[in-house]
């Protein structure tokens, strides 16, 4: 718990994130560039041809999009249970990024679906639950923006995020019960050939670092915003 409270202090966070930011930014750029180079030099897949390269920008986006929702839920729990002030800011800062990666996953997925399935959009389980994830993000962001009182908004959004997190598995399961076309997972089960696996892993690292970088920038901006607002109120 001590470590939790240490970073509840915005000044401590500013110091640490300021030191980390150049490195994560550089690492994100390097990993994404390396992943792209590796991704474009893979041999064509026997079935998918060169469209397999879309996977390298699609799968990491989808994983970051899902992970971000889990992250927001955990931060919301922190904020509700321990009244951790920074986790509110962190959850709010993560939401638009999560929505962006969800949209990126949907767009790249539908661009891949056109040559492979013959259509941009199918009402398949995974696609549909991703679309619903996007709506969950949008609702969460809308509630943040609608409530003016910041503390009240933070608590309300934390409740909403936790309910969404409880409900998300049910939504995913129900949509799966409804329809399934998307291929199953092939990374952990070891069905993906190493020649495709390595660029994918590098790209995942790149996307993860990119998220981390943008997330820290957004948290820092929000902290600075609050500081300047407090200063203005103090000066008035």
């Amino acid at each position: 718990m001590n470590i939790l409270y240490r970073y509840a202090n915005p000044r401590e966070f500013m110091r640490l994130s300021g030191a980390l930011l150049p490195f994560t930014a550089a690492a994100a750029v390097l990993a994404i560039l390396a992943g792209l180079v590796m991704g474009f030099s893979v041999p064509p897949d026997y079935q998918q041809g060169m469209t397999v390269t879309i996977m390298f920008i699609h799968v990491p986006a989808a994983i970051v999009a899902e992970g971000t929702y889990a992250l927001i839920a955990v931060l919301s729990l922190f904020s509700l249970v321990w009244r951790h002030p920074l986790s509110d800011v962190a959850a709010r800062a993560a939401a638009p990024l999560g929505a962006l990666f969800t949209a990126l996953g949907l767009v790249t997925g539908s661009l891949w679906g056109r040559p492979m399935w013959g259509t941009y959009w199918v009402w398949d389980a995974r696609l549909t639950s991703f679309l619903l994830l996007l709506f969950l993000y949008l609702g969460y962001m809308a509630l943040w923006n609608a409530i003016e009182d910041e503390i009240r908004a933070a608590r309300a959004c934390a409740i909403l995020a936790l309910i969404g997190a409880v409900n998300l598995p049910i939504i995913v399961y129900s949509v799966e019960w409804w329809n399934t076309l998307h291929q199953g997972e092939s990374i952990i089960s070891g069905k993906l050939a190493p020649v495709f696996l390595w660029p994918l892993l590098v790209m995942m690292a790149g996307y993860g670092l990119l998220f981390l970088t943008l997330w820290m920038i957004r948290i820092r901006t929000e902290i600075l915003n609050r500081r300047s607002r407090t200063l203005m109120l103090g000066g008035a």
């Binding site: 619903l132 709506f135 969950l136 949008l138 609702g139 809308a142 509630l143 609608a146 409530i147 009240r152 608590r155 309300a156 409740i159 909403l160 936790l162 309910i163 969404g164 409880v166 409900n167 049910i170 939504i171 399961y173 129900s174 949509v175 019960w177 409804w178």
Partner: protein, 222 residues
């Protein structure tokens, strides 16, 4: 009379006397159901195929119409403060509100649905499944909706945000409800979908009073 039943009967009387809450929802339900054949064509075979889904979605939207007022009226005129001061815990208050909302919208919508199913040429056996699925599923709509209503109760334009928050959470109800009607139409047993819908509804009704009470509480502390 216990505080719970007093609150329940008060909310039911308010719903009945202020603008006939149930009648508005029923009118909306019937109107949406009337517009769909005008939009997609009057082919009776097609209509009976889509009836389960259309009526489920229409009932869901009709129930949403009155949800934003679930706590808002009481919040604005201050009676929510008085209710919160009463010995009745806010969780029970939320449950009473959910029950009142279901009795004044969900139940009438369910009762009206066989009539609209008739207009959609739904076979009698599938109509029974639709009726049962709405009977089981509409409490979940009121329960999950109450969470959205409590989160947005202090917002002047909460009615716009409420559907954005609530509808994604309610997709399982539509899938299982309309899915069980579709299963019946395809000659399969609808019991699987109905059982899952019942499980969803029970979970929603058990958990949402706590979430709604938490959200009401944070809006009252000031």
């Amino acid at each position: 009379m216990s505080a719970f039943t007093a609150l329940l009967s008060r909310d039911l009387r308010l719903a009945a006397r202020s603008g006939g809450g149930a009648a508005l929802a029923l009118g909306f339900f019937a109107l949406v159901a009337t517009l769909v054949p005008l939009g997609i064509g009057a082919d009776l075979n097609l209509l009976s195929r889509v009836a389960g889904g259309v009526l489920w979605v229409a009932a869901l939207l009709a129930a949403l119409l009155s949800l934003d007022r679930l706590f808002q009226g009481d919040f604005e005129d201050g009676s929510l403060d008085v209710i919160a001061l009463s010995p009745l815990p806010l969780e029970s208050v939320s449950l009473a509100k959910i029950l009142a909302h279901w009795l004044s919208t969900g139940l009438p919508l369910t009762v009206l649905s066989p009539l609209l199913a008739l207009l959609f040429n739904l076979p009698a056996s599938a109509t029974l499944v639709l009726f049962v699925s709405l009977l089981i599923g509409t409490p979940a709509v009121s329960a999950v909706g109450a969470i959205g209503a409590s989160l947005t109760l202090s917002l002047r334009r909460g009615g716009l945000i409420l559907p954005l928050i609530v509808l994604p959470l309610l997709t399982p109800a539509v899938i299982f409800g309309a899915g069980s009607v579709a299963a019946k139409m395809d000659g399969m047993a609808p019991s699987g979908g109905l059982a899952l819908l019942a499980a969803f509804a029970v979970a929603a009704c058990l958990l949402s009073p706590f979430a709604a009470a938490g959200a009401v509480r944070l809006n009252l502390t000031n």
